[in-house]
Protein backbone atom coordinates (compact mmCIF):
# COMPACT_ATOMS: atom_id res chain seq x y z
CA UNK A 1 0.00 0.00 0.00
CA UNK A 2 2.83 2.36 0.95
CA UNK A 3 4.51 1.85 -2.42
CA UNK A 4 1.24 2.55 -4.23
CA UNK A 5 0.75 5.81 -2.30
CA UNK A 6 4.30 6.82 -3.12
CA UNK A 7 3.71 6.16 -6.83
CA UNK A 8 0.48 8.19 -6.78
CA UNK A 9 2.31 11.04 -5.04
CA UNK A 10 5.13 10.93 -7.59
CA UNK A 11 2.60 10.95 -10.45
CA UNK A 12 0.82 13.97 -8.99
CA UNK A 13 4.12 15.76 -8.45
CA UNK A 14 5.30 15.07 -12.01
CA UNK A 15 1.95 16.30 -13.34
CA UNK A 16 2.30 19.51 -11.36
CA UNK A 17 5.82 20.06 -12.66
CA UNK A 18 4.74 19.98 -16.33
CA UNK A 19 3.98 23.62 -17.06
CA UNK A 20 1.89 24.77 -19.97
CA UNK A 21 3.53 25.44 -23.30
CA UNK A 22 3.54 29.19 -23.80
CA UNK A 23 3.99 31.05 -27.07
CA UNK A 24 6.08 34.14 -26.55
CA UNK A 25 6.83 37.34 -28.42
CA UNK A 26 8.90 40.39 -27.56
CA UNK A 27 7.10 42.73 -25.18
CA UNK A 28 7.70 45.47 -27.79
CA UNK A 29 5.07 43.79 -30.01
CA UNK A 30 1.67 45.33 -29.36
CA UNK A 31 -0.40 42.13 -29.72
CA UNK A 32 -1.66 40.79 -26.39
CA UNK A 33 -3.34 37.52 -27.40
CA UNK A 34 -3.41 35.21 -30.40
CA UNK A 35 -6.00 32.55 -31.15
CA UNK A 36 -5.06 28.94 -31.77
CA UNK A 37 -5.91 29.41 -35.47
CA UNK A 38 -3.60 32.42 -35.70
CA UNK A 39 -0.76 30.49 -34.05
CA UNK A 40 -1.37 27.56 -36.38
CA UNK A 41 -1.25 29.76 -39.47
CA UNK A 42 1.87 31.57 -38.33
CA UNK A 43 3.72 28.28 -37.81
CA UNK A 44 2.50 26.97 -41.17
CA UNK A 45 3.71 30.21 -42.80
CA UNK A 46 0.15 31.01 -43.93
CA UNK A 47 -0.08 34.17 -41.86
CA UNK A 48 2.80 36.54 -42.49
CA UNK A 49 2.18 39.33 -40.03
CA UNK A 50 1.77 39.85 -36.29
CA UNK A 51 0.31 43.29 -35.79
CA UNK A 52 1.77 44.70 -39.04
CA UNK A 53 5.24 43.29 -38.25
CA UNK A 54 6.52 40.41 -40.38
CA UNK A 55 6.04 37.20 -38.37
CA UNK A 56 9.12 35.07 -37.72
CA UNK A 57 8.12 31.70 -36.24
CA UNK A 58 10.80 29.69 -34.42
CA UNK A 59 10.76 25.93 -33.94
CA UNK A 60 12.61 23.64 -31.57
CA UNK A 61 14.47 20.62 -33.09
CA UNK A 62 12.25 17.85 -34.57
CA UNK A 63 12.90 15.39 -31.73
CA UNK A 64 12.02 17.90 -28.98
CA UNK A 65 8.89 16.76 -27.04
CA UNK A 66 7.49 20.30 -26.94
CA UNK A 67 7.66 20.53 -30.72
CA UNK A 68 5.96 17.16 -31.12
CA UNK A 69 3.15 18.32 -28.85
CA UNK A 70 2.79 21.61 -30.75
CA UNK A 71 2.72 19.78 -34.08
CA UNK A 72 0.02 17.34 -33.04
CA UNK A 73 -2.15 19.70 -30.97
CA UNK A 74 -1.72 23.05 -32.74
CA UNK A 75 -0.88 22.15 -36.32
CA UNK A 76 -3.16 19.09 -36.31
CA UNK A 77 -0.89 17.06 -38.59
CA UNK A 78 1.19 13.97 -38.07
CA UNK A 79 4.82 13.90 -39.14
CA UNK A 80 4.14 12.45 -42.60
CA UNK A 81 1.39 14.96 -43.42
CA UNK A 82 3.61 17.77 -42.24
CA UNK A 83 6.48 16.68 -44.52
CA UNK A 84 4.10 16.64 -47.50
CA UNK A 85 2.80 20.05 -46.49
CA UNK A 86 6.36 21.48 -46.41
CA UNK A 87 7.12 19.84 -49.79
CA UNK A 88 4.40 22.05 -51.28
CA UNK A 89 5.68 25.13 -49.51
CA UNK A 90 9.29 24.46 -50.51
CA UNK A 91 8.38 24.12 -54.17
CA UNK A 92 6.58 27.46 -53.92
CA UNK A 93 9.48 29.26 -52.30
CA UNK A 94 8.41 29.24 -48.67
CA UNK A 95 10.78 28.01 -45.98
CA UNK A 96 9.61 26.30 -42.76
CA UNK A 97 10.22 28.09 -39.45
CA UNK A 98 13.80 28.59 -38.34
CA UNK A 99 14.97 25.89 -35.90
CA UNK A 100 16.88 26.85 -32.77
CA UNK A 101 18.58 24.26 -30.59
CA UNK A 102 17.13 25.10 -27.15
CA UNK A 103 14.41 26.94 -25.31
CA UNK A 104 17.02 29.38 -23.98
CA UNK A 105 18.02 30.17 -27.57
CA UNK A 106 14.35 30.70 -28.47
CA UNK A 107 13.92 33.17 -25.61
CA UNK A 108 17.05 35.10 -26.57
CA UNK A 109 16.02 35.27 -30.24
CA UNK A 110 12.43 36.31 -29.53
CA UNK A 111 13.56 39.00 -27.11
CA UNK A 112 15.86 40.45 -29.78
CA UNK A 113 13.73 40.21 -32.97
CA UNK A 114 10.32 41.97 -33.12
CA UNK A 115 7.88 39.67 -34.92
CA UNK A 116 9.67 36.52 -33.76
CA UNK A 117 7.40 34.00 -32.03
CA UNK A 118 8.49 30.82 -30.30
CA UNK A 119 7.25 28.37 -27.69
CA UNK A 120 8.79 27.27 -24.41
CA UNK A 121 7.86 25.47 -21.22
CA UNK A 122 6.12 27.95 -18.92
CA UNK A 123 8.50 27.03 -16.08
CA UNK A 124 11.38 28.63 -18.00
CA UNK A 125 9.58 31.94 -18.38
CA UNK A 126 11.32 34.30 -15.98
CA UNK A 127 12.77 36.90 -18.26
CA UNK A 128 11.78 40.46 -18.65
CA UNK A 129 11.17 41.51 -22.21
CA UNK A 130 8.89 38.61 -23.17
CA UNK A 131 5.13 38.36 -23.40
CA UNK A 132 2.85 35.30 -23.54
CA UNK A 133 0.37 35.54 -26.43
CA UNK A 134 -0.97 31.98 -26.38
CA UNK A 135 -1.02 29.21 -23.82
CA UNK A 136 -1.32 25.50 -24.62
CA UNK A 137 -2.65 23.78 -21.53
CA UNK A 138 -0.99 20.50 -20.59
Amino acid sequence: MGVRRLLVLLAVLSFCRAGDIVFIVSERVEVEKLTVREVRKIFLREKDFIDAITAFPINLPPENPLRKEVESRILGMDEEDLQLFWNRKYLNGIEPPLVLSSQEAVKAFVRKIPGAIGYIDEDLLRDEGLKVVFRLKR
Binding site: E80, R88, L91
Partner: protein, 331 residues
Protein backbone atom coordinates in the same frame (compact mmCIF):
# COMPACT_ATOMS: atom_id res chain seq x y z
CA UNK B 1 24.27 18.02 -75.59
CA UNK B 2 25.45 21.55 -74.81
CA UNK B 3 22.44 21.91 -72.52
CA UNK B 4 23.38 18.77 -70.61
CA UNK B 5 26.90 20.13 -70.07
CA UNK B 6 25.45 23.38 -68.68
CA UNK B 7 23.12 21.46 -66.47
CA UNK B 8 25.95 19.27 -65.20
CA UNK B 9 28.00 22.37 -64.41
CA UNK B 10 25.03 23.95 -62.62
CA UNK B 11 24.53 20.85 -60.46
CA UNK B 12 28.28 20.69 -59.78
CA UNK B 13 28.22 24.34 -58.71
CA UNK B 14 25.32 23.60 -56.39
CA UNK B 15 27.11 20.76 -54.67
CA UNK B 16 30.28 22.79 -54.31
CA UNK B 17 28.44 25.48 -52.36
CA UNK B 18 29.16 23.97 -48.94
CA UNK B 19 32.88 24.38 -49.60
CA UNK B 20 32.57 28.17 -49.64
CA UNK B 21 34.43 29.08 -46.48
CA UNK B 22 32.63 32.29 -45.60
CA UNK B 23 29.10 31.16 -46.25
CA UNK B 24 26.82 29.34 -43.85
CA UNK B 25 25.32 26.85 -46.28
CA UNK B 26 23.03 24.08 -45.17
CA UNK B 27 21.84 21.20 -47.35
CA UNK B 28 18.84 19.03 -46.58
CA UNK B 29 17.69 16.29 -48.96
CA UNK B 30 14.64 17.50 -50.82
CA UNK B 31 14.95 21.02 -49.43
CA UNK B 32 17.95 22.24 -51.40
CA UNK B 33 20.82 24.41 -50.26
CA UNK B 34 19.96 27.22 -47.90
CA UNK B 35 22.55 29.99 -48.05
CA UNK B 36 21.71 31.77 -44.83
CA UNK B 37 23.80 34.88 -45.35
CA UNK B 38 22.02 35.58 -48.66
CA UNK B 39 18.62 34.37 -47.38
CA UNK B 40 18.48 32.27 -50.53
CA UNK B 41 17.60 28.66 -51.36
CA UNK B 42 18.77 26.68 -54.40
CA UNK B 43 17.22 23.32 -55.16
CA UNK B 44 15.06 21.51 -57.66
CA UNK B 45 13.23 18.38 -58.71
CA UNK B 46 13.09 15.83 -61.50
CA UNK B 47 10.62 13.28 -62.91
CA UNK B 48 10.80 10.06 -64.89
CA UNK B 49 7.48 9.32 -66.60
CA UNK B 50 5.98 6.23 -68.24
CA UNK B 51 2.66 5.90 -70.12
CA UNK B 52 1.26 2.90 -71.92
CA UNK B 53 -1.97 1.96 -73.70
CA UNK B 54 -2.88 -0.48 -76.45
CA UNK B 55 -1.13 1.27 -79.35
CA UNK B 56 1.01 3.82 -77.55
CA UNK B 57 4.05 3.71 -75.31
CA UNK B 58 6.01 6.67 -74.01
CA UNK B 59 8.77 7.04 -71.49
CA UNK B 60 10.79 10.11 -70.73
CA UNK B 61 12.98 11.93 -68.30
CA UNK B 62 10.32 14.59 -68.29
CA UNK B 63 12.02 17.48 -66.58
CA UNK B 64 14.93 18.66 -64.55
CA UNK B 65 14.02 21.83 -62.71
CA UNK B 66 16.21 24.21 -60.83
CA UNK B 67 14.70 26.52 -58.22
CA UNK B 68 16.22 29.66 -56.83
CA UNK B 69 14.30 31.74 -54.34
CA UNK B 70 14.82 34.02 -51.42
CA UNK B 71 13.48 36.68 -49.12
CA UNK B 72 16.22 39.32 -49.03
CA UNK B 73 13.99 41.86 -47.29
CA UNK B 74 11.23 41.22 -44.78
CA UNK B 75 8.42 42.02 -47.24
CA UNK B 76 10.09 41.02 -50.50
CA UNK B 77 10.41 37.56 -52.03
CA UNK B 78 11.64 36.39 -55.42
CA UNK B 79 11.28 33.03 -57.14
CA UNK B 80 12.87 31.54 -60.26
CA UNK B 81 12.21 28.10 -61.70
CA UNK B 82 14.16 27.01 -64.76
CA UNK B 83 13.09 23.81 -66.42
CA UNK B 84 14.82 21.54 -68.90
CA UNK B 85 12.04 19.65 -70.71
CA UNK B 86 12.07 16.20 -72.28
CA UNK B 87 15.67 15.47 -71.42
CA UNK B 88 15.17 12.02 -72.90
CA UNK B 89 11.92 10.93 -74.56
CA UNK B 90 10.85 7.91 -76.59
CA UNK B 91 7.40 7.44 -78.10
CA UNK B 92 6.63 4.05 -79.63
CA UNK B 93 10.37 3.44 -79.87
CA UNK B 94 11.14 6.72 -81.67
CA UNK B 95 13.37 9.35 -80.16
CA UNK B 96 11.41 12.54 -79.34
CA UNK B 97 14.00 14.22 -77.16
CA UNK B 98 13.90 18.05 -77.26
CA UNK B 99 15.92 19.26 -74.24
CA UNK B 100 14.38 22.71 -74.38
CA UNK B 101 14.83 25.13 -71.50
CA UNK B 102 12.08 27.44 -70.35
CA UNK B 103 11.33 29.77 -67.50
CA UNK B 104 8.55 27.99 -65.68
CA UNK B 105 8.16 30.68 -63.02
CA UNK B 106 9.83 34.03 -62.46
CA UNK B 107 8.27 36.54 -60.11
CA UNK B 108 8.77 39.02 -57.30
CA UNK B 109 6.37 39.42 -54.37
CA UNK B 110 5.85 42.45 -52.22
CA UNK B 111 3.72 42.18 -49.07
CA UNK B 112 1.90 45.40 -48.22
CA UNK B 113 -0.11 43.70 -45.50
CA UNK B 114 -1.80 40.41 -44.69
CA UNK B 115 -4.72 41.47 -46.88
CA UNK B 116 -2.75 42.83 -49.83
CA UNK B 117 0.24 41.23 -51.51
CA UNK B 118 1.51 41.90 -55.00
CA UNK B 119 3.14 39.43 -57.40
CA UNK B 120 4.65 40.48 -60.73
CA UNK B 121 6.09 38.11 -63.32
CA UNK B 122 5.25 34.63 -64.61
CA UNK B 123 3.38 32.55 -62.06
CA UNK B 124 1.02 29.60 -61.79
CA UNK B 125 -2.57 30.70 -62.38
CA UNK B 126 -3.97 30.83 -58.83
CA UNK B 127 -7.15 28.86 -59.51
CA UNK B 128 -8.41 25.60 -58.11
CA UNK B 129 -6.74 22.88 -56.08
CA UNK B 130 -4.90 20.94 -58.76
CA UNK B 131 -3.36 23.69 -60.87
CA UNK B 132 -1.25 25.26 -58.10
CA UNK B 133 0.33 21.85 -57.29
CA UNK B 134 1.03 20.85 -60.89
CA UNK B 135 4.52 19.47 -60.10
CA UNK B 136 4.66 15.69 -60.38
CA UNK B 137 6.33 15.09 -57.03
CA UNK B 138 3.51 16.98 -55.29
CA UNK B 139 0.61 15.36 -57.13
CA UNK B 140 -1.10 12.22 -55.93
CA UNK B 141 -1.32 10.82 -59.46
CA UNK B 142 0.72 11.03 -62.65
CA UNK B 143 -2.27 11.94 -64.82
CA UNK B 144 -4.19 15.20 -64.48
CA UNK B 145 -7.94 15.76 -64.50
CA UNK B 146 -9.46 17.71 -67.40
CA UNK B 147 -10.29 20.75 -65.25
CA UNK B 148 -6.66 21.88 -65.46
CA UNK B 149 -6.26 21.33 -69.21
CA UNK B 150 -9.11 23.05 -71.07
CA UNK B 151 -10.52 25.90 -68.99
CA UNK B 152 -7.79 28.46 -68.35
CA UNK B 153 -4.05 28.91 -69.07
CA UNK B 154 -1.95 27.16 -66.43
CA UNK B 155 0.48 30.10 -66.28
CA UNK B 156 0.02 33.86 -66.40
CA UNK B 157 2.63 36.53 -67.14
CA UNK B 158 1.29 39.61 -65.47
CA UNK B 159 0.18 40.86 -62.10
CA UNK B 160 -1.44 39.07 -59.18
CA UNK B 161 -3.02 40.62 -56.10
CA UNK B 162 -3.62 38.23 -53.24
CA UNK B 163 -3.97 38.03 -49.49
CA UNK B 164 -6.12 37.16 -46.51
CA UNK B 165 -8.61 39.87 -45.51
CA UNK B 166 -9.72 37.67 -42.61
CA UNK B 167 -8.18 34.65 -40.95
CA UNK B 168 -10.57 32.31 -42.76
CA UNK B 169 -10.64 33.98 -46.18
CA UNK B 170 -8.05 34.12 -48.98
CA UNK B 171 -8.35 35.67 -52.40
CA UNK B 172 -6.29 35.96 -55.57
CA UNK B 173 -6.85 38.20 -58.60
CA UNK B 174 -4.71 38.10 -61.73
CA UNK B 175 -4.36 40.14 -64.92
CA UNK B 176 -2.36 39.79 -68.11
CA UNK B 177 -2.19 42.16 -71.08
CA UNK B 178 1.07 41.29 -72.79
CA UNK B 179 3.09 38.49 -74.35
CA UNK B 180 3.85 35.69 -71.96
CA UNK B 181 7.25 34.49 -70.85
CA UNK B 182 7.83 30.95 -72.23
CA UNK B 183 4.57 30.87 -74.21
CA UNK B 184 5.55 27.50 -75.68
CA UNK B 185 5.02 25.90 -72.28
CA UNK B 186 1.46 26.78 -71.49
CA UNK B 187 -1.60 24.66 -72.18
CA UNK B 188 -3.49 27.56 -73.88
CA UNK B 189 -1.95 30.52 -75.71
CA UNK B 190 -3.38 33.75 -74.37
CA UNK B 191 -2.01 37.29 -74.04
CA UNK B 192 -4.98 38.88 -72.32
CA UNK B 193 -6.63 37.39 -69.28
CA UNK B 194 -8.23 38.28 -65.99
CA UNK B 195 -9.69 36.19 -63.21
CA UNK B 196 -9.73 35.33 -59.58
CA UNK B 197 -10.68 33.01 -56.79
CA UNK B 198 -11.99 33.45 -53.28
CA UNK B 199 -11.44 30.69 -50.73
CA UNK B 200 -13.06 30.21 -47.35
CA UNK B 201 -12.06 27.87 -44.53
CA UNK B 202 -14.89 26.14 -42.72
CA UNK B 203 -13.61 24.69 -39.47
CA UNK B 204 -10.12 23.21 -39.39
CA UNK B 205 -10.54 20.62 -42.12
CA UNK B 206 -12.57 22.05 -44.98
CA UNK B 207 -11.78 24.70 -47.60
CA UNK B 208 -14.25 25.76 -50.27
CA UNK B 209 -13.69 28.19 -53.13
CA UNK B 210 -15.33 29.76 -56.15
CA UNK B 211 -13.51 31.20 -59.13
CA UNK B 212 -14.09 32.79 -62.50
CA UNK B 213 -12.42 34.69 -65.28
CA UNK B 214 -11.92 35.41 -68.92
CA UNK B 215 -9.11 35.08 -71.47
CA UNK B 216 -8.61 35.52 -75.19
CA UNK B 217 -7.46 32.67 -77.40
CA UNK B 218 -4.91 34.66 -79.39
CA UNK B 219 -6.57 35.07 -82.77
CA UNK B 220 -9.21 32.36 -82.34
CA UNK B 221 -11.76 33.72 -79.89
CA UNK B 222 -12.26 33.99 -76.18
CA UNK B 223 -13.31 31.89 -73.21
CA UNK B 224 -15.23 32.87 -70.08
CA UNK B 225 -15.16 30.38 -67.21
CA UNK B 226 -16.42 29.79 -63.70
CA UNK B 227 -15.82 27.05 -61.19
CA UNK B 228 -15.95 25.82 -57.64
CA UNK B 229 -13.86 23.47 -55.55
CA UNK B 230 -13.65 21.93 -52.09
CA UNK B 231 -10.87 20.24 -50.15
CA UNK B 232 -11.25 18.19 -46.99
CA UNK B 233 -8.12 17.12 -45.10
CA UNK B 234 -7.58 15.02 -41.99
CA UNK B 235 -4.48 13.09 -40.89
CA UNK B 236 -3.79 10.52 -43.62
CA UNK B 237 -6.89 11.46 -45.62
CA UNK B 238 -7.70 13.96 -48.36
CA UNK B 239 -10.94 14.34 -50.29
CA UNK B 240 -11.12 16.92 -53.05
CA UNK B 241 -13.39 17.95 -55.88
CA UNK B 242 -13.38 20.63 -58.56
CA UNK B 243 -15.83 21.61 -61.27
CA UNK B 244 -15.41 24.07 -64.12
CA UNK B 245 -17.77 25.48 -66.71
CA UNK B 246 -16.63 27.49 -69.74
CA UNK B 247 -18.27 29.31 -72.62
CA UNK B 248 -16.12 29.59 -75.73
CA UNK B 249 -16.85 32.17 -78.46
CA UNK B 250 -14.89 31.65 -81.67
CA UNK B 251 -14.08 34.60 -83.97
CA UNK B 252 -16.08 32.75 -86.63
CA UNK B 253 -19.21 33.25 -84.53
CA UNK B 254 -19.45 29.67 -83.30
CA UNK B 255 -20.11 29.04 -79.62
CA UNK B 256 -19.26 26.04 -77.53
CA UNK B 257 -19.59 24.95 -73.94
CA UNK B 258 -17.27 22.91 -71.78
CA UNK B 259 -18.00 21.31 -68.46
CA UNK B 260 -15.84 19.13 -66.28
CA UNK B 261 -15.52 17.90 -62.74
CA UNK B 262 -13.58 15.38 -60.71
CA UNK B 263 -13.89 13.82 -57.29
CA UNK B 264 -10.84 12.31 -55.65
CA UNK B 265 -10.18 10.45 -52.44
CA UNK B 266 -6.72 9.74 -51.01
CA UNK B 267 -6.12 7.51 -48.02
CA UNK B 268 -2.88 6.52 -46.34
CA UNK B 269 -3.10 2.74 -46.00
CA UNK B 270 0.39 2.13 -44.56
CA UNK B 271 3.13 4.58 -43.61
CA UNK B 272 4.31 6.17 -46.87
CA UNK B 273 1.70 4.31 -48.96
CA UNK B 274 -1.37 6.06 -50.34
CA UNK B 275 -4.31 4.68 -52.29
CA UNK B 276 -6.05 7.05 -54.71
CA UNK B 277 -9.42 6.84 -56.39
CA UNK B 278 -10.58 9.55 -58.81
CA UNK B 279 -13.59 9.93 -61.08
CA UNK B 280 -13.34 12.55 -63.80
CA UNK B 281 -15.95 13.78 -66.30
CA UNK B 282 -15.46 16.08 -69.29
CA UNK B 283 -18.00 17.35 -71.84
CA UNK B 284 -17.44 19.68 -74.80
CA UNK B 285 -20.36 20.64 -77.03
CA UNK B 286 -18.50 22.27 -79.95
CA UNK B 287 -16.73 19.02 -80.87
CA UNK B 288 -19.45 16.88 -79.29
CA UNK B 289 -16.84 15.18 -77.12
CA UNK B 290 -17.42 13.42 -73.84
CA UNK B 291 -14.94 11.61 -71.61
CA UNK B 292 -15.30 9.75 -68.40
CA UNK B 293 -12.32 8.29 -66.58
CA UNK B 294 -11.90 6.31 -63.38
CA UNK B 295 -8.35 6.31 -62.03
CA UNK B 296 -7.07 3.90 -59.43
CA UNK B 297 -3.62 4.73 -58.18
CA UNK B 298 -0.93 4.02 -55.67
CA UNK B 299 1.60 6.55 -54.43
CA UNK B 300 4.59 5.30 -52.46
CA UNK B 301 6.77 7.80 -50.59
CA UNK B 302 9.73 5.94 -49.04
CA UNK B 303 11.17 9.34 -48.12
CA UNK B 304 9.41 12.70 -48.02
CA UNK B 305 11.39 13.90 -51.05
CA UNK B 306 10.73 10.88 -53.26
CA UNK B 307 7.47 9.74 -54.87
CA UNK B 308 6.84 6.55 -56.86
CA UNK B 309 3.45 6.35 -58.53
CA UNK B 310 1.53 3.79 -60.55
CA UNK B 311 -2.04 4.07 -61.73
CA UNK B 312 -4.52 2.58 -64.13
CA UNK B 313 -7.08 4.75 -65.85
CA UNK B 314 -10.31 3.18 -67.10
CA UNK B 315 -11.74 5.24 -69.94
CA UNK B 316 -15.22 5.23 -71.45
CA UNK B 317 -13.77 3.71 -74.61
CA UNK B 318 -11.80 0.70 -73.44
CA UNK B 319 -9.08 1.04 -76.06
CA UNK B 320 -8.02 4.28 -74.34
CA UNK B 321 -7.47 2.61 -70.98
CA UNK B 322 -4.02 3.76 -69.89
CA UNK B 323 -1.33 2.77 -67.43
CA UNK B 324 0.85 5.53 -65.95
CA UNK B 325 3.90 5.40 -63.71
CA UNK B 326 6.46 7.91 -62.54
CA UNK B 327 9.41 8.36 -60.23
CA UNK B 328 9.94 11.91 -59.05
CA UNK B 329 12.18 13.45 -56.48
CA UNK B 330 13.21 16.74 -54.98
CA UNK B 331 16.82 17.63 -54.36
Amino acid sequence: MKMLVWLFLAVLALFSLPSFPHEHVEYRPGRGFRIHSLKMTVGGYSTFFYKSRRDYEEYKLEEISLLLYGDPLSRVRYFLELELHDVYRKVNGRDRTTRLVDIERLYVDYEFSEALKLRVGRFITPLGIWNPIHIDVLKWTVSDPAVVAFFFPNFVTGVQLFGSPTLETDYALFFQNNRGISERYNNLLSRRSAGGEIRREIGDNLKVAVNGGWFDLEGHGEISFAGANALFTAPGTEISGEMMYALERRDTGEEGRRFSYYLQGVRRILPGNYAILRYCYYRETAEDRRNRALTIGWNFRPYYFLSLKAEYQFRERGRLNTFFASVSGMF
